[in-house]
């Protein structure tokens, strides 16, 4: 028995005895996934094989040259390892030119191209003897990858490839996340062909828990293909690359466009991953000209309308800069370019794409406080609109406060540096000054008055026990109440603020003062310590907007 294996139907099994070959029985497998499984399951049969014999035509009705298909699967199936490099004798009466001619202009897949590559030999059945005894070299891996496979030029024959592109994208993301999906890789020739070009990529670093986010994370994935690898990979990424192992991670999923449009609980999520195309038709249709027409864009607008602070990362198969810019303009907070087999990207690009994605998630989680900031802002704006409408407050005052909040939010939303955060804070702080100017007037050279509510009392901050309490006798420095003294008077005398709430206002004012007038004595300036340094983060801004929300809520109750 020599080390030749012949792939043949059972009805022709005498062949193996005549030629003293091993038989590998072909049972009319005709679909890619069946051929793939059949080859993998019988891999051990080939351990000592030196060459393969495959009739070009196998099976009952063989217009498609099934033998060549099987040959293509052998060359392209990574799991077959050394078997891929074996010389293959294809058997036919026809010449390779005749076989290929038969496929040209008829089929997208031209399996006949395999006959023109190294390691493939087309022989007639009558000349097999000669080839069975002749030493034939195995293919070299480099030759297979760099010469043979690229010549095969396998095209996508599947219906326009939403599913295929999604499978490809999920496997690519998983690969760069160092994760093995619990899904079988697609076994179509096209997928395998494209996958062969990614052979030499370096798998990314091992998990590193340093610098992971030390808070829980609640994420949502909106994708009609969520279950084909995406949610699994995202969970892995959130658990191992983003969030500290001690903290909880959850990922909910919405798969239908209509459900996404109607969903009411977006506010509960720290980050939303949103696919740009949520309907299969969007891949087929040539009608989509504008980014606004995509289902994902429509959902993006709905979510940002609910609360602009909800963090959204878009999954898009488009790498068109103008599309991505438009999505960012519409409020998207990051994007990940879903890779597609239609355009193989360089490994460098794939890595950058992945790393940027990780950074985007991290940034989104750091921006979690924006949701609360926008919720409070929306509440304040609504109260002011109602009060103005009912003529309870001055229209210009109300409008000005709304404009400052809007401007401050824009600055804080776009903030990247410490000074950006402080700048947003200062603009928002203008609202405190507007309130003071609107409600405090100088009654006489020594008396200050809260509009229609009597004289302004004095509040002092007691550093020893960190409290703010009203003081007697009243003695404003230079008979000029400070910003804090004014707002403290309004809020405690008129709006019923507790001392604790007034203390918050004190710190809000101090934060602004220490930034504008830094104390240059000592090693640490006051702006760098304690409550004051919060001006450089979302925390300070959140505290200020909470105070403003309390002021306007109490004002609304008083004026109701």
């Amino acid at each position: 028995m020599n080390n030749t294996i012949v792939v043949i139907e059972d009805s022709k099994s005498n062949f193996s005895e005549d030629f003293k070959c091993q038989k590998f029985e072909y049972n009319n497998q005709s679909k890619d996934e069946d051929i793939h499984r059949w080859l993998i399951a019988n891999k051990d049969l080939f351990i000592n094989a030196e060459r393969l014999i495959i009739p070009v035509r196998l099976g009952n009705e063989d217009a498609e040259h099934m033998g060549l298909y099987i040959g293509l699967h052998i060359r392209l199936t990574k799991e077959l390892e050394a078997i891929r490099f074996l010389p293959i004798l294809f058997v036919s009466k026809q010449s390779k030119e005749e076989i290929l001619y038969n496929q040209i202009n008829k089929l997208k897949e031209k399996s006949g191209l395999l006959l023109f590559t190294k390691g493939s030999y087309l022989v007639s059945a009558s000349s097999l003897d000669e080839y069975i005894t002749k030493p034939l070299p195995n293919l070299d891996e480099q030759v297979l990858l760099e010469t043979v496979i690229p010549s095969l030029n396998i095209q996508n024959t599947q219906d326009p490839g939403h599913q295929l592109a999604n499978d490809w994208g999920a496997f690519r993301l998983a690969k760069f996340a160092g994760y093995t999906l619990n899904l079988e890789k697609p076994s179509s020739l096209y997928f395998k062909f494209k996958d062969s070009f990614t052979n030499n990529e370096i798998v990314p670093n091992a998990n590193n828990t340093i610098g992971l986010f030390n808070e829980s994370c609640k994420a949502l994935l909106i994708d009609d293909n969520a279950t084909s690898g995406w949610s699994e990979t995202l969970k892995h990424i959130l658990r191992s690359k983003i969030v500290n192992p001690g903290k909880s991670v959850s990922l909910d999923v919405i798969t239908h466009f209509d459900d996404a449009l109607k969903y009411a609980d977006y506010i509960n999520y720290d980050v939303v991953f949103l696919d740009l195309r949520l309907l299969k038709e969007e891949d087929k249709s040539n009608q989509i000209n504008s980014i606004d027409d995509f289902t994902g864009t429509k959902v993006l607008k709905v979510i940002k309308e609910i609360n602009p602070g909800i963090q959204i990362i878009i999954f898009t198969a488009s790498n068109k800069v103008w599309n991505i810019e438009k999505l960012l303009e519409l409020g998207a907070n990051g994007y990940y370019i879903k890779e597609s087999p239609e355009y193989i990207l360089s490994t460098r690009f794939s890595k950058d794409n992945y790393n940027e994605f990780i950074k985007s998630i991290q940034t989104c989680l750091l921006r979690k406080p924006l949701k609360q900031i926008y919720t409070l802002s929306q509440n304040i704006k609504l109260i002011i609109t109602t009060l103005v409408k009912n003529k309870k407050i001055d229209k210009i005052f109300g409008k000005s406060v709304q404009q400052y909040i809007e401007l401050a939010n824009k600055i804080i939303d776009a903030a990247r540096t410490e000074n950006d955060y402080a700048m947003g804070y200062l603009v928002l702080f203008k609202c405190i000054e507007l309130i003071n100017d609107n409600y405090i007037t100088e009654d006489s050279p020594t008396i200050w008055r809260i509009t229609s509510d009597g004289p302004l009392k004095q509040f002092r901050y007691n550093k020893g026990n960190n409290t703010a309490t009203s003081a007697t006798p009243i003695s404003f420095t230079n008979n000029l109440p400070s910003t804090f003294e004014k707002i403290a008077g309004i809020t405690s005398q008129v709006l019923g603020f507790t001392n604790v709430d007034v203390l918050d206002l004190y710190h809000n004012v101090q934060r602004r003062n220490k930034f504008i007038h830094p104390d240059e004595s000592g090693t640490l300036t006051p702006i760098q310590i304690g409550e004051n340094k919060m001006i450089f983060t979302y925390e300070g801004y959140t505290k200020l907007i909470k105070s403003l929300d309390l002021i306007f809520s109490k004002l609304e109750m008083k004026l109701r």
């Binding site: 022709k12 005549d18 005709s30 009952n60 217009a63 026809q94 009558s126």
Partner: protein, 225 residues
Amino acid sequence: MIYLIDDNKYGQMSENYKLDFTQVLLTYHGFINWFQTISENDIDNIISDAACILIHDSLEEKEDKERIVALAKKSKIPYCLFSNGFTATIFDGDSIKEIKKDRLYNNLLIFMNNFKSESRIDLRLLSLGKNYEVEKAAIIQDRLSNGVLFKGRNNFNFEVAFPSGSQDRKDLRELFYMSEDFSNKDVYEDAYNNFEDKYSDIKTTAKIMEDAISNLTNKINSRYE
């Protein structure tokens, strides 16, 4: 009427299959009817007057597809299931249970022409195009030659190489039938029996049998040259 049930769009037809589908529908108006989606009523209408049903295997309305195929089988209407997920062309009697989509669209005009001029459904045209016989002969020759050699190159025996009732025997018979223009079935039967008798002789070798198969193929090819 031939019914084509395919959820593809016009643009995709021309893009993927280089087929001006509007032209097909105009040229063969009254002979082909195209449905992108189907309803319950459509199914009854289709089954009532279909000469043949061509249906996309990956149609979204999977249950409707299965119902149409079941009804077509019951009513003995030839059907053809196409999809690009299919690799091979597999016949099921007079119907095709699997064919690649690009192969079907590549041969659709030939199939329609034949139906329009001959009022006859010939799904072989859909699978192998206008030179059906040449292509089929090449397939059979390849399969039989391999078989003859694989099964008895040193010790050929007709009955072993072509067991009675086997696909190979049927193929040989079809090849023989295609090689001559037999107008009378009895003449054909006699001629074929003589052919079998001749090669069942003990002196027949694999080489002789292979040459005989080649001769049959050459005869078919010569008619198309």
